[in-house]
Protein backbone atom coordinates (compact mmCIF):
# COMPACT_ATOMS: atom_id res chain seq x y z
CA UNK A 1 0.00 0.00 0.00
CA UNK A 2 1.44 3.32 -1.00
CA UNK A 3 1.32 6.30 1.29
CA UNK A 4 -0.79 9.25 0.23
CA UNK A 5 0.92 12.20 1.84
CA UNK A 6 -0.44 15.70 2.21
CA UNK A 7 2.31 16.94 -0.06
CA UNK A 8 1.12 14.72 -2.93
CA UNK A 9 -2.53 15.66 -2.48
CA UNK A 10 -1.66 19.36 -2.41
CA UNK A 11 0.55 19.26 -5.47
CA UNK A 12 -2.05 17.32 -7.46
CA UNK A 13 -4.87 19.65 -6.39
CA UNK A 14 -2.92 22.81 -7.22
CA UNK A 15 -1.61 21.33 -10.47
CA UNK A 16 -5.00 20.29 -11.76
CA UNK A 17 -6.50 23.60 -10.64
CA UNK A 18 -3.84 25.31 -12.78
CA UNK A 19 -4.66 23.06 -15.75
CA UNK A 20 -8.43 23.36 -15.53
CA UNK A 21 -9.31 26.72 -13.95
CA UNK A 22 -8.67 28.78 -17.12
CA UNK A 23 -10.98 26.54 -19.15
CA UNK A 24 -13.65 26.49 -16.44
CA UNK A 25 -13.66 30.30 -16.31
CA UNK A 26 -13.92 30.41 -20.11
CA UNK A 27 -16.92 28.07 -20.07
CA UNK A 28 -18.71 29.94 -17.25
CA UNK A 29 -18.21 33.35 -18.83
CA UNK A 30 -19.49 32.18 -22.20
CA UNK A 31 -22.93 32.26 -20.51
CA UNK A 32 -22.44 35.84 -19.37
CA UNK A 33 -25.00 38.28 -20.76
CA UNK A 34 -22.63 41.25 -20.64
CA UNK A 35 -20.43 42.25 -23.54
CA UNK A 36 -17.74 42.98 -20.94
CA UNK A 37 -16.31 39.52 -20.63
CA UNK A 38 -14.84 39.76 -17.14
CA UNK A 39 -17.89 41.32 -15.44
CA UNK A 40 -20.71 38.92 -14.60
CA UNK A 41 -24.12 40.36 -15.53
CA UNK A 42 -26.45 37.36 -15.43
CA UNK A 43 -26.98 34.09 -17.26
CA UNK A 44 -27.68 34.15 -20.98
CA UNK A 45 -27.19 32.00 -24.03
CA UNK A 46 -27.34 34.89 -26.48
CA UNK A 47 -23.73 34.52 -27.63
CA UNK A 48 -24.48 31.00 -28.78
CA UNK A 49 -27.38 32.37 -30.77
CA UNK A 50 -25.16 34.97 -32.41
CA UNK A 51 -22.52 32.34 -33.09
CA UNK A 52 -24.97 30.09 -34.93
CA UNK A 53 -26.01 32.99 -37.14
CA UNK A 54 -22.44 33.95 -37.94
CA UNK A 55 -21.90 32.53 -41.44
CA UNK A 56 -18.18 33.30 -41.47
CA UNK A 57 -17.60 30.96 -38.52
CA UNK A 58 -19.83 28.24 -39.99
CA UNK A 59 -18.00 28.40 -43.34
CA UNK A 60 -14.63 28.24 -41.60
CA UNK A 61 -15.81 25.28 -39.53
CA UNK A 62 -16.86 23.45 -42.72
CA UNK A 63 -13.48 24.08 -44.37
CA UNK A 64 -11.70 22.88 -41.22
CA UNK A 65 -13.76 19.69 -41.04
CA UNK A 66 -13.14 18.89 -44.72
CA UNK A 67 -9.41 19.45 -44.33
CA UNK A 68 -9.28 17.41 -41.12
CA UNK A 69 -11.18 14.41 -42.52
CA UNK A 70 -9.19 14.33 -45.75
CA UNK A 71 -5.76 14.88 -44.19
CA UNK A 72 -6.23 12.50 -41.27
CA UNK A 73 -7.45 9.71 -43.56
CA UNK A 74 -4.51 10.17 -45.93
CA UNK A 75 -2.13 10.47 -42.98
CA UNK A 76 -3.45 7.25 -41.46
CA UNK A 77 -2.88 5.30 -44.68
CA UNK A 78 0.60 6.72 -45.27
CA UNK A 79 1.56 6.61 -41.59
CA UNK A 80 0.51 2.97 -41.22
CA UNK A 81 2.52 2.07 -44.34
CA UNK A 82 5.52 3.94 -42.95
CA UNK A 83 5.20 2.22 -39.56
CA UNK A 84 5.01 -1.19 -41.25
CA UNK A 85 8.09 -0.39 -43.30
CA UNK A 86 10.01 0.81 -40.22
CA UNK A 87 9.12 -2.19 -38.06
CA UNK A 88 8.86 -5.01 -40.64
CA UNK A 89 10.63 -3.60 -43.69
CA UNK A 90 14.03 -5.00 -42.82
CA UNK A 91 17.01 -3.25 -44.41
CA UNK A 92 16.68 -1.13 -47.51
CA UNK A 93 18.61 1.68 -49.11
CA UNK A 94 18.14 4.95 -47.22
CA UNK A 95 16.48 3.48 -44.15
CA UNK A 96 18.22 5.94 -41.80
CA UNK A 97 17.05 8.88 -43.88
CA UNK A 98 13.53 7.45 -43.88
CA UNK A 99 13.33 7.06 -40.11
CA UNK A 100 14.87 10.50 -39.70
CA UNK A 101 12.16 11.99 -41.90
CA UNK A 102 9.52 10.25 -39.77
CA UNK A 103 10.83 11.61 -36.46
CA UNK A 104 12.02 15.07 -37.50
CA UNK A 105 8.59 16.62 -38.21
CA UNK A 106 7.52 15.76 -34.65
CA UNK A 107 9.97 18.26 -33.20
CA UNK A 108 10.15 20.75 -36.07
CA UNK A 109 8.94 24.26 -35.20
CA UNK A 110 5.66 24.92 -36.99
CA UNK A 111 6.92 28.19 -38.46
CA UNK A 112 9.68 26.34 -40.32
CA UNK A 113 7.41 23.56 -41.61
CA UNK A 114 4.86 26.14 -42.74
CA UNK A 115 7.39 28.39 -44.44
CA UNK A 116 9.13 25.54 -46.26
CA UNK A 117 5.86 24.05 -47.54
CA UNK A 118 4.64 27.42 -48.74
CA UNK A 119 7.87 28.01 -50.64
CA UNK A 120 7.48 24.55 -52.23
CA UNK A 121 3.89 25.19 -53.29
CA UNK A 122 4.84 28.53 -54.81
CA UNK A 123 7.89 26.98 -56.45
CA UNK A 124 5.81 24.36 -58.28
CA UNK A 125 3.01 26.83 -58.98
CA UNK A 126 0.27 25.06 -56.99
CA UNK A 127 -2.69 27.32 -56.18
CA UNK A 128 -3.06 27.69 -52.45
CA UNK A 129 -6.32 26.57 -50.89
CA UNK A 130 -7.92 23.50 -49.32
CA UNK A 131 -5.67 21.15 -51.29
CA UNK A 132 -2.41 22.70 -50.09
CA UNK A 133 -3.57 22.67 -46.44
CA UNK A 134 -4.52 19.00 -46.79
CA UNK A 135 -1.07 18.18 -48.23
CA UNK A 136 0.66 20.10 -45.43
CA UNK A 137 -1.42 18.55 -42.64
CA UNK A 138 -1.03 15.04 -44.06
CA UNK A 139 2.75 15.45 -44.07
CA UNK A 140 3.20 16.26 -40.40
CA UNK A 141 0.36 14.13 -39.03
CA UNK A 142 1.43 10.95 -40.89
CA UNK A 143 4.55 11.04 -38.72
CA UNK A 144 2.45 11.05 -35.53
CA UNK A 145 0.33 8.18 -36.90
CA UNK A 146 3.41 6.16 -37.75
CA UNK A 147 4.86 6.61 -34.25
CA UNK A 148 1.59 5.47 -32.64
CA UNK A 149 1.16 2.50 -35.00
CA UNK A 150 4.79 1.36 -34.87
CA UNK A 151 4.74 1.20 -31.06
CA UNK A 152 1.83 -1.23 -31.42
CA UNK A 153 3.56 -3.22 -34.17
CA UNK A 154 6.68 -3.63 -32.04
CA UNK A 155 4.74 -5.31 -29.23
CA UNK A 156 2.87 -7.55 -31.67
CA UNK A 157 3.44 -11.32 -31.68
CA UNK A 158 4.93 -12.00 -35.07
CA UNK A 159 4.23 -15.72 -34.97
CA UNK A 160 0.53 -14.97 -35.58
CA UNK A 161 1.39 -13.52 -38.98
CA UNK A 162 3.72 -16.42 -39.72
CA UNK A 163 0.98 -18.90 -38.82
CA UNK A 164 -1.38 -17.23 -41.31
CA UNK A 165 1.30 -17.39 -44.00
CA UNK A 166 1.98 -21.07 -43.23
CA UNK A 167 -1.71 -21.82 -43.51
CA UNK A 168 -1.73 -20.47 -47.04
CA UNK A 169 -2.57 -16.76 -46.73
CA UNK A 170 -0.99 -14.40 -49.21
CA UNK A 171 1.10 -11.67 -47.50
CA UNK A 172 -1.63 -9.14 -48.27
CA UNK A 173 -4.36 -11.39 -46.80
CA UNK A 174 -2.22 -12.03 -43.75
CA UNK A 175 -1.95 -8.27 -43.25
CA UNK A 176 -5.68 -7.72 -43.87
CA UNK A 177 -6.98 -10.64 -41.79
CA UNK A 178 -4.43 -10.87 -38.98
CA UNK A 179 -2.22 -7.79 -38.61
CA UNK A 180 -4.78 -5.09 -39.29
CA UNK A 181 -7.40 -6.26 -36.75
CA UNK A 182 -4.71 -6.47 -34.07
CA UNK A 183 -3.22 -3.03 -34.73
CA UNK A 184 -6.67 -1.49 -35.36
CA UNK A 185 -6.86 0.32 -31.97
CA UNK A 186 -3.54 2.04 -32.71
CA UNK A 187 -4.65 2.90 -36.26
CA UNK A 188 -7.87 4.41 -34.90
CA UNK A 189 -6.08 6.45 -32.24
CA UNK A 190 -3.60 7.54 -34.90
CA UNK A 191 -6.49 8.77 -37.04
CA UNK A 192 -8.02 10.62 -34.09
CA UNK A 193 -4.67 12.20 -33.27
CA UNK A 194 -4.19 13.31 -36.88
CA UNK A 195 -7.75 14.64 -36.94
CA UNK A 196 -7.29 16.80 -33.81
CA UNK A 197 -3.86 18.00 -34.93
CA UNK A 198 -5.44 19.18 -38.16
CA UNK A 199 -8.42 20.82 -36.38
CA UNK A 200 -6.03 22.61 -34.07
CA UNK A 201 -3.36 23.87 -36.43
CA UNK A 202 -3.02 27.60 -36.91
CA UNK A 203 0.56 28.28 -37.99
CA UNK A 204 0.99 25.78 -40.83
CA UNK A 205 -2.50 26.53 -42.15
CA UNK A 206 -1.74 30.29 -42.12
CA UNK A 207 1.26 29.70 -44.33
CA UNK A 208 -0.32 27.24 -46.75
CA UNK A 209 -3.84 28.64 -47.11
CA UNK A 210 -5.09 30.81 -49.93
CA UNK A 211 -7.45 33.78 -49.79
CA UNK A 212 -10.57 31.68 -50.43
CA UNK A 213 -10.17 29.07 -47.71
CA UNK A 214 -10.10 30.21 -44.10
CA UNK A 215 -9.96 27.53 -41.42
CA UNK A 216 -11.52 27.90 -37.99
CA UNK A 217 -8.22 28.46 -36.12
CA UNK A 218 -7.29 31.23 -38.58
CA UNK A 219 -10.72 32.79 -38.05
CA UNK A 220 -10.40 32.50 -34.25
CA UNK A 221 -6.89 33.91 -34.38
CA UNK A 222 -7.93 37.05 -36.23
CA UNK A 223 -10.76 37.53 -33.69
CA UNK A 224 -8.73 36.96 -30.51
CA UNK A 225 -5.94 39.28 -31.58
CA UNK A 226 -8.43 42.07 -30.89
CA UNK A 227 -8.98 40.83 -27.32
CA UNK A 228 -11.47 38.64 -25.48
CA UNK A 229 -14.89 38.35 -27.08
CA UNK A 230 -17.96 36.55 -25.73
CA UNK A 231 -18.66 34.93 -29.10
CA UNK A 232 -15.22 33.29 -29.10
CA UNK A 233 -15.90 32.14 -25.51
CA UNK A 234 -19.09 30.45 -26.71
CA UNK A 235 -17.27 28.82 -29.63
CA UNK A 236 -14.48 27.64 -27.31
CA UNK A 237 -17.02 26.15 -24.93
CA UNK A 238 -18.63 24.18 -27.76
CA UNK A 239 -15.23 22.88 -28.87
CA UNK A 240 -14.16 21.98 -25.30
CA UNK A 241 -17.51 20.23 -24.79
CA UNK A 242 -17.18 18.13 -27.96
CA UNK A 243 -13.61 17.08 -27.09
CA UNK A 244 -14.50 16.22 -23.48
CA UNK A 245 -17.46 14.06 -24.49
CA UNK A 246 -15.36 12.42 -27.21
CA UNK A 247 -12.37 11.60 -25.01
CA UNK A 248 -14.46 10.35 -22.08
CA UNK A 249 -16.64 8.12 -24.25
CA UNK A 250 -13.60 6.76 -26.10
CA UNK A 251 -11.96 5.82 -22.80
CA UNK A 252 -15.19 4.24 -21.52
CA UNK A 253 -15.54 2.18 -24.70
CA UNK A 254 -11.95 0.96 -24.54
CA UNK A 255 -12.40 0.12 -20.84
CA UNK A 256 -15.56 -1.86 -21.63
CA UNK A 257 -13.78 -3.69 -24.44
CA UNK A 258 -10.92 -4.55 -22.09
CA UNK A 259 -13.36 -5.92 -19.50
CA UNK A 260 -15.18 -7.89 -22.20
CA UNK A 261 -11.92 -9.32 -23.56
CA UNK A 262 -11.01 -10.41 -20.05
CA UNK A 263 -14.40 -12.09 -19.60
CA UNK A 264 -14.03 -13.86 -22.96
CA UNK A 265 -10.61 -15.11 -21.90
CA UNK A 266 -12.00 -16.41 -18.63
CA UNK A 267 -14.90 -18.07 -20.43
CA UNK A 268 -12.48 -19.68 -22.88
CA UNK A 269 -10.32 -20.94 -20.01
CA UNK A 270 -13.37 -22.41 -18.28
CA UNK A 271 -14.40 -24.03 -21.56
CA UNK A 272 -10.95 -25.55 -21.99
CA UNK A 273 -10.86 -27.20 -18.57
Amino acid sequence: MRRTSWFNVTSLTLGFAFLYLPMVLLVIYSFNSSKLVTVWAGFSTKWYGELVQNDAFLDAAMVTLKVAVASSTLATILGTMAAYVLVRGGRFLGRTLFSGMIYAPLVMPEVITGLSLLLLFIGIGLDRGVLTIVLAHTTFSMCYVSVVVSSRLVSFDRSLEEAALDLGCSPFDAFRLVTLPIIAPAVISGWLLAFTLSLDDLVIASFTTGPSSTTLPIKIWSAVRLGVSPEINALSTLMIGIVTVGVISASLISKRNAVKAQQDMQAAERGAT
Partner: protein
Protein backbone atom coordinates in the same frame (compact mmCIF):
# COMPACT_ATOMS: atom_id res chain seq x y z
CA UNK B 1 7.16 -5.52 -56.04
CA UNK B 2 4.58 -5.00 -53.32
CA UNK B 3 7.34 -4.32 -50.82
CA UNK B 4 8.84 -1.73 -53.14
CA UNK B 5 5.48 0.02 -53.42
CA UNK B 6 5.02 -0.06 -49.63
CA UNK B 7 8.36 1.64 -49.07
CA UNK B 8 8.27 3.98 -52.06
CA UNK B 9 4.94 5.71 -51.41
CA UNK B 10 5.58 7.14 -47.91
CA UNK B 11 9.25 7.66 -48.80
CA UNK B 12 8.45 9.72 -51.88
CA UNK B 13 5.80 11.69 -49.98
CA UNK B 14 8.25 12.68 -47.23
CA UNK B 15 11.01 13.47 -49.71
CA UNK B 16 8.74 15.73 -51.73
CA UNK B 17 6.90 17.44 -48.89
CA UNK B 18 9.45 17.42 -46.10
CA UNK B 19 13.04 17.23 -47.34
CA UNK B 20 12.89 19.11 -50.64
CA UNK B 21 11.09 22.11 -49.06
CA UNK B 22 14.08 22.53 -46.72
CA UNK B 23 16.43 22.78 -49.64
CA UNK B 24 14.13 25.40 -51.12
CA UNK B 25 14.26 27.38 -47.86
CA UNK B 26 18.03 27.10 -47.91
CA UNK B 27 18.19 28.17 -51.54
CA UNK B 28 15.99 31.21 -50.98
CA UNK B 29 17.98 32.23 -47.92
CA UNK B 30 20.92 32.71 -50.29
CA UNK B 31 18.89 34.83 -52.71
CA UNK B 32 18.16 38.55 -52.83
CA UNK B 33 14.89 40.34 -52.25
CA UNK B 34 13.25 41.51 -55.47
CA UNK B 35 10.09 43.32 -56.41
CA UNK B 36 8.64 40.50 -58.45
CA UNK B 37 6.53 37.38 -58.08
CA UNK B 38 7.96 35.37 -56.35
CA UNK B 39 9.68 38.22 -54.47
CA UNK B 40 13.28 37.02 -54.69
CA UNK B 41 16.02 36.64 -57.24
CA UNK B 42 17.63 34.67 -58.88
CA UNK B 43 15.12 31.94 -59.73
CA UNK B 44 15.39 28.71 -61.69
CA UNK B 45 14.35 30.63 -64.81
CA UNK B 46 17.74 32.34 -64.92
CA UNK B 47 19.39 28.97 -65.50
CA UNK B 48 21.08 26.81 -62.91
CA UNK B 49 24.61 28.16 -63.42
CA UNK B 50 23.47 31.79 -63.17
CA UNK B 51 21.48 30.91 -60.07
CA UNK B 52 24.44 29.38 -58.24
CA UNK B 53 26.65 32.31 -59.22
CA UNK B 54 24.22 34.86 -57.84
CA UNK B 55 24.03 33.16 -54.43
CA UNK B 56 25.60 34.94 -51.51
CA UNK B 57 25.44 34.98 -47.74
CA UNK B 58 24.37 38.59 -47.38
CA UNK B 59 21.10 37.68 -45.64
CA UNK B 60 23.08 35.87 -42.98
CA UNK B 61 25.46 38.81 -42.70
CA UNK B 62 22.41 41.05 -42.36
CA UNK B 63 21.13 38.90 -39.48
CA UNK B 64 24.36 39.46 -37.56
CA UNK B 65 24.45 43.21 -38.15
CA UNK B 66 20.86 43.98 -37.13
CA UNK B 67 20.74 43.27 -33.40
CA UNK B 68 16.97 42.55 -33.52
CA UNK B 69 17.75 39.03 -34.73
CA UNK B 70 20.41 37.86 -32.35
CA UNK B 71 18.47 39.46 -29.50
CA UNK B 72 15.45 37.45 -30.62
CA UNK B 73 17.45 34.20 -30.74
CA UNK B 74 18.95 34.83 -27.29
CA UNK B 75 15.64 35.83 -25.76
CA UNK B 76 13.94 32.73 -27.27
CA UNK B 77 16.64 30.54 -25.74
CA UNK B 78 16.24 32.26 -22.38
CA UNK B 79 12.44 32.05 -22.40
CA UNK B 80 12.47 28.40 -23.50
CA UNK B 81 15.03 27.51 -20.83
CA UNK B 82 13.27 29.28 -17.94
CA UNK B 83 9.86 27.88 -19.01
CA UNK B 84 11.34 24.37 -19.09
CA UNK B 85 12.67 24.72 -15.54
CA UNK B 86 9.32 26.12 -14.35
CA UNK B 87 7.43 23.30 -16.08
CA UNK B 88 9.71 20.78 -14.37
CA UNK B 89 9.09 22.39 -10.97
CA UNK B 90 5.32 22.21 -11.51
CA UNK B 91 5.26 18.92 -13.40
CA UNK B 92 7.51 16.76 -11.25
CA UNK B 93 5.43 17.00 -8.04
CA UNK B 94 2.31 16.28 -10.10
CA UNK B 95 3.85 13.21 -11.77
CA UNK B 96 5.12 12.08 -8.36
CA UNK B 97 1.69 12.56 -6.80
CA UNK B 98 0.09 10.58 -9.65
CA UNK B 99 2.55 7.70 -9.30
CA UNK B 100 1.88 7.60 -5.54
CA UNK B 101 -1.90 7.86 -5.87
CA UNK B 102 -4.08 4.79 -5.14
CA UNK B 103 -4.11 2.33 -8.06
CA UNK B 104 -7.79 2.85 -8.90
CA UNK B 105 -7.35 6.62 -9.22
CA UNK B 106 -4.49 6.55 -11.66
CA UNK B 107 -6.39 6.03 -14.95
CA UNK B 108 -8.62 9.01 -14.11
CA UNK B 109 -5.65 11.22 -13.19
CA UNK B 110 -3.94 10.14 -16.40
CA UNK B 111 -7.01 11.10 -18.43
CA UNK B 112 -7.13 14.49 -16.68
CA UNK B 113 -3.56 15.15 -17.84
CA UNK B 114 -4.21 13.96 -21.40
CA UNK B 115 -7.55 15.73 -21.89
CA UNK B 116 -5.99 19.21 -22.43
CA UNK B 117 -3.87 17.61 -25.20
CA UNK B 118 -6.99 17.08 -27.26
CA UNK B 119 -8.40 20.53 -26.59
CA UNK B 120 -7.50 23.30 -29.00
CA UNK B 121 -4.09 24.77 -28.26
CA UNK B 122 -5.25 28.19 -29.44
CA UNK B 123 -8.24 28.19 -27.09
CA UNK B 124 -6.13 27.17 -24.11
CA UNK B 125 -3.75 30.08 -24.73
CA UNK B 126 -6.67 32.41 -25.36
CA UNK B 127 -8.22 31.45 -21.99
CA UNK B 128 -5.32 33.22 -20.28
CA UNK B 129 -6.03 36.55 -21.96
CA UNK B 130 -9.13 36.98 -19.82
CA UNK B 131 -7.24 36.01 -16.68
CA UNK B 132 -4.06 38.04 -17.04
CA UNK B 133 -5.31 41.30 -18.55
CA UNK B 134 -5.42 44.45 -16.41
CA UNK B 135 -9.11 44.09 -15.66
CA UNK B 136 -8.87 40.28 -15.81
CA UNK B 137 -9.87 37.66 -13.24
CA UNK B 138 -6.47 37.49 -11.53
CA UNK B 139 -6.29 41.24 -10.92
CA UNK B 140 -9.95 41.36 -9.84
CA UNK B 141 -9.29 38.56 -7.36
CA UNK B 142 -6.09 40.09 -5.97
CA UNK B 143 -7.73 43.53 -5.64
CA UNK B 144 -10.69 41.92 -3.88
CA UNK B 145 -8.46 40.15 -1.35
CA UNK B 146 -6.63 43.43 -0.75
CA UNK B 147 -3.22 41.93 -1.55
CA UNK B 148 -2.60 44.63 -4.14
CA UNK B 149 -4.01 48.14 -4.45
CA UNK B 150 -3.44 48.69 -8.18
CA UNK B 151 -3.78 46.11 -10.99
CA UNK B 152 -0.61 44.26 -11.94
CA UNK B 153 0.55 44.45 -15.55
CA UNK B 154 1.06 40.82 -16.58
CA UNK B 155 -0.38 40.74 -20.09
CA UNK B 156 2.13 41.66 -22.80
CA UNK B 157 5.11 40.86 -20.60
CA UNK B 158 7.52 37.94 -20.55
CA UNK B 159 5.83 36.65 -17.38
CA UNK B 160 2.66 36.02 -19.36
CA UNK B 161 4.69 34.06 -21.93
CA UNK B 162 6.21 31.89 -19.16
CA UNK B 163 2.75 31.15 -17.78
CA UNK B 164 1.44 30.36 -21.28
CA UNK B 165 4.28 27.98 -22.16
CA UNK B 166 4.21 26.16 -18.81
CA UNK B 167 0.45 25.82 -19.08
CA UNK B 168 0.29 24.47 -22.63
CA UNK B 169 3.32 22.16 -22.45
CA UNK B 170 2.79 20.83 -18.90
CA UNK B 171 1.33 17.47 -20.07
CA UNK B 172 4.50 16.86 -22.16
CA UNK B 173 6.52 17.22 -18.95
CA UNK B 174 4.24 15.15 -16.71
CA UNK B 175 3.73 12.10 -18.95
CA UNK B 176 7.35 10.92 -19.43
CA UNK B 177 8.20 11.59 -15.75
CA UNK B 178 5.07 9.72 -14.64
CA UNK B 179 6.00 6.80 -16.92
CA UNK B 180 9.47 6.66 -15.32
CA UNK B 181 8.16 6.93 -11.75
CA UNK B 182 5.45 4.36 -12.37
CA UNK B 183 8.07 1.77 -13.39
CA UNK B 184 10.24 2.58 -10.38
CA UNK B 185 10.67 -0.34 -8.02
CA UNK B 186 9.24 0.79 -4.67
CA UNK B 187 11.41 -1.66 -2.71
CA UNK B 188 14.54 0.32 -3.67
CA UNK B 189 13.24 3.33 -1.76
CA UNK B 190 12.28 1.13 1.19
CA UNK B 191 15.78 -0.38 1.12
CA UNK B 192 17.32 3.11 1.20
CA UNK B 193 15.12 4.04 4.16
CA UNK B 194 15.92 0.79 5.96
CA UNK B 195 19.60 1.50 5.50
CA UNK B 196 19.19 4.78 7.32
CA UNK B 197 18.31 7.34 4.64
CA UNK B 198 15.79 9.97 5.61
CA UNK B 199 12.77 10.17 3.28
CA UNK B 200 14.08 13.34 1.69
CA UNK B 201 17.56 11.91 1.24
CA UNK B 202 16.12 8.71 -0.29
CA UNK B 203 14.16 10.90 -2.70
CA UNK B 204 17.29 12.73 -3.87
CA UNK B 205 19.53 9.67 -3.97
CA UNK B 206 17.13 7.06 -5.36
CA UNK B 207 13.94 8.49 -6.86
CA UNK B 208 15.45 11.42 -8.80
CA UNK B 209 18.32 9.44 -10.42
CA UNK B 210 15.98 6.58 -11.36
CA UNK B 211 13.50 8.97 -13.03
CA UNK B 212 16.32 10.76 -14.87
CA UNK B 213 15.35 9.58 -18.36
CA UNK B 214 11.79 10.78 -17.83
CA UNK B 215 13.03 14.17 -16.63
CA UNK B 216 15.34 14.54 -19.64
CA UNK B 217 12.63 13.50 -22.11
CA UNK B 218 10.11 15.88 -20.51
CA UNK B 219 12.54 18.80 -20.57
CA UNK B 220 13.31 18.34 -24.26
CA UNK B 221 9.64 17.93 -25.11
CA UNK B 222 8.99 21.35 -23.54
CA UNK B 223 12.20 23.11 -24.60
CA UNK B 224 12.21 22.18 -28.31
CA UNK B 225 8.72 23.38 -29.26
CA UNK B 226 8.95 26.38 -26.90
CA UNK B 227 12.01 27.67 -28.74
CA UNK B 228 10.18 28.19 -32.04
CA UNK B 229 6.84 29.10 -30.45
CA UNK B 230 4.74 31.67 -32.29
CA UNK B 231 1.18 31.67 -30.87
CA UNK B 232 2.01 32.19 -27.18
CA UNK B 233 4.40 35.15 -27.53
CA UNK B 234 2.10 36.81 -30.08
CA UNK B 235 -1.05 36.46 -28.02
CA UNK B 236 0.23 36.84 -24.45
CA UNK B 237 3.60 38.54 -24.94
CA UNK B 238 2.49 41.25 -27.34
CA UNK B 239 5.16 43.77 -28.26
CA UNK B 240 6.81 43.22 -24.89
CA UNK B 241 8.52 39.98 -25.84
CA UNK B 242 10.87 39.05 -28.59
CA UNK B 243 10.87 35.46 -29.83
CA UNK B 244 12.32 34.14 -33.04
CA UNK B 245 9.19 32.31 -34.21
CA UNK B 246 7.30 35.58 -34.03
CA UNK B 247 10.08 37.47 -35.83
CA UNK B 248 10.07 34.88 -38.65
CA UNK B 249 6.29 35.06 -39.01
CA UNK B 250 6.29 38.86 -39.12
CA UNK B 251 9.29 39.04 -41.45
CA UNK B 252 7.40 36.83 -43.86
CA UNK B 253 3.84 38.16 -43.62
CA UNK B 254 4.35 41.83 -42.71
CA UNK B 255 7.66 42.74 -44.32
CA UNK B 256 7.29 40.19 -47.14
CA UNK B 257 11.04 39.64 -47.04
CA UNK B 258 11.21 35.97 -48.01
CA UNK B 259 15.01 35.66 -48.24
CA UNK B 260 15.53 37.06 -44.72
CA UNK B 261 12.67 34.93 -43.30
CA UNK B 262 14.34 31.88 -44.87
CA UNK B 263 17.71 32.80 -43.38
CA UNK B 264 16.04 33.16 -39.95
CA UNK B 265 14.54 29.67 -40.41
CA UNK B 266 17.90 28.14 -41.42
CA UNK B 267 19.62 29.50 -38.28
CA UNK B 268 16.74 28.41 -36.01
CA UNK B 269 17.08 24.93 -37.49
CA UNK B 270 20.84 24.92 -36.82
CA UNK B 271 20.21 25.90 -33.18
CA UNK B 272 17.62 23.14 -32.81
CA UNK B 273 19.79 20.35 -34.23
CA UNK B 274 21.78 19.95 -30.98
CA UNK B 275 18.79 19.50 -28.60
CA UNK B 276 17.01 17.29 -31.18
CA UNK B 277 20.00 14.93 -31.47
CA UNK B 278 20.42 14.82 -27.67
CA UNK B 279 16.71 14.02 -27.33
CA UNK B 280 16.90 11.20 -29.90
CA UNK B 281 19.92 9.73 -28.06
CA UNK B 282 18.04 9.81 -24.76
CA UNK B 283 15.03 8.09 -26.35
CA UNK B 284 17.23 5.40 -27.89
CA UNK B 285 19.04 4.77 -24.60
CA UNK B 286 15.71 4.43 -22.88
CA UNK B 287 14.40 2.04 -25.53
CA UNK B 288 17.54 -0.09 -25.18
CA UNK B 289 17.24 -0.09 -21.38
CA UNK B 290 13.70 -1.45 -21.68
CA UNK B 291 14.54 -4.38 -23.91
Amino acid sequence: MRRFFLIAVPYAWLLALFLIPFFIVFKISLSDLALSIPPYTPTMKDGFGQMIKAFDFENFVFLTTDDLYWKAYLSSLKIALISTVLALLVGYPMAYGMARAPEEWRPTLMMLVILPFWTSFLIRVYAWVGILSNEGFLNQFLLWTGLISAPLTIMNTTTAVYIGIVYTYLPFMILPIYAALDRLDESLIEAAEDLGCSRIKAFWLVTIPLSRNGIIAGCFLVFIPALGEFVIPSLLGGSGTLMIGKVLFEEFFNNRDWPVASAVAVILLLILIVPIILFQRNQQRQAEAET
